[in-house]
């Protein structure tokens, strides 16, 4: 095996260790999500905690399994634009609905 190939193999081995660690973390967070739901917290607290745990889990999947932690700038730009439109999509209808902000 050439030196370059050996470096490459060692690099992938390191990646695999990270994948296993992320897998364990995702399993633990899934159990935490279910355990918290059993506490029957008030809706606002329950939604906040569930969202925080889901965002952590989602970030782990996106960062390590989807390799976003070390991607090219163009992909970050595409995703940045997507996130901006996603939040606009999510919150504009809520604003129009809840207090008539746009209606009056």
């Amino acid at each position: 095996m050439s030196e370059h190939a050996a470096d490459h193999a060692a690099d992938i081995d390191r990646h695999v260790k990270v994948y296993i660690t992320v897998f364990v973390a995702l399993m633990a967070l899934t159990i935490i999500t279910v355990a918290i739901s059993r506490l029957h917290l008030p809706v606002h607290e329950a939604v906040t905690i569930a969202l925080i745990v889901a965002i952590i889990k989602g970030s782990l999947v996106a960062s390590f399994f989807m390799h976003l932690i070390s991607e090219k700038k163009l992909i970050y730009a595409v995703l940045g634009l997507t996130v901006a439109f996603f939040f606009a999509l999510l919150f504009l209808p809520v604003l129009t609905h809840s207090n008539g902000f746009w209606i009056h």
Binding site: V34, V43, V47, A50, V53, V61, L74, L79, P93
Partner: protein
């Protein structure tokens, strides 16, 4: 005609065409599910009362399915890593596991849906169930699509490994990106529908 930039990166983007293509597609998918999540928020905040998911849905089954889908994401990324390590036999085992785990997810969903229908619970029964069936139904279609592509890359599509292994590895990476996205959507659907 040869497809350009399947293995080497395009100089202006720094990416293969396949990779930028799958990310643009995933961006459109975010908007698709985003529209449905926005509908969920609107309908839920506008409702006088809203049932807790666990009073209607089966949380243990959904928890099991969450574990299944997360496991399939790991087997998917391990399939790609196996190709990077030049171990085609190991790739096949991980890729087959990914497809099988997707199948397990669908079987569990089938039992969940059947149980609802037997109890007279349909999308027309309530807003909660309309959202539940729409969101999980669309997600299931994505699982089926991902399984079809992964099964193709396990079977007939794997011939490419013999002629152009780097291109094949990139294809597996791209199909993996879609599969992880499907997992990611479920990570948000699970608490939203079942636990809150």
């Amino acid at each position: 005609m040869e497809i350009p930039y399947t293995v080497e990166a395009r100089p202006d983007t720094g990416l293969t065409n396949g990779k930028i293509g799958i990310w643009l597609f995933l961006a459109s998918e975010v908007m698709l599910f985003g529209a449905l999540f926005a509908s969920y928020i609107l309908i839920r905040t506008g409702a006088q009362t809203w049932p807790r998911g666990d009073s209607i849905l089966n949380v243990p089954l959904a928890t099991f399915n969450t574990i299944v889908l997360i496991s399939s994401s790991v087997t998917m990324v391990m399939a790609w890593a196996s190709l990077k390590r030049n171990r085609f036999g190991t790739f096949r085992i991980y890729q087959a596991s990914t497809v099988l785990l997707g199948g397990v997810f669908l079987v569990v969903k089938y039992f969940e849906y059947s149980h609802k229908f037997e109890n007279g619970l349909f999308p027309s029964t309530s807003n909660f169930l309309a959202l539940y069936f729409t969101l999980t139904g669309l997600h299931m279609l994505h699982v089926m699509g991902g399984m079809a592509v992964n099964a193709y890359l396990w079977g007939p599509g794997a011939k490419l490994w013999k002629t152009n292994p780097e291109w094949f590895t990139n294809r597996v990476e791209n199909s993996g990106l879609f599969w992880h996205f499907v997992d990611l959507v479920w990570i948000f659907l699970f608490p939203t529908l079942y636990l809150l």
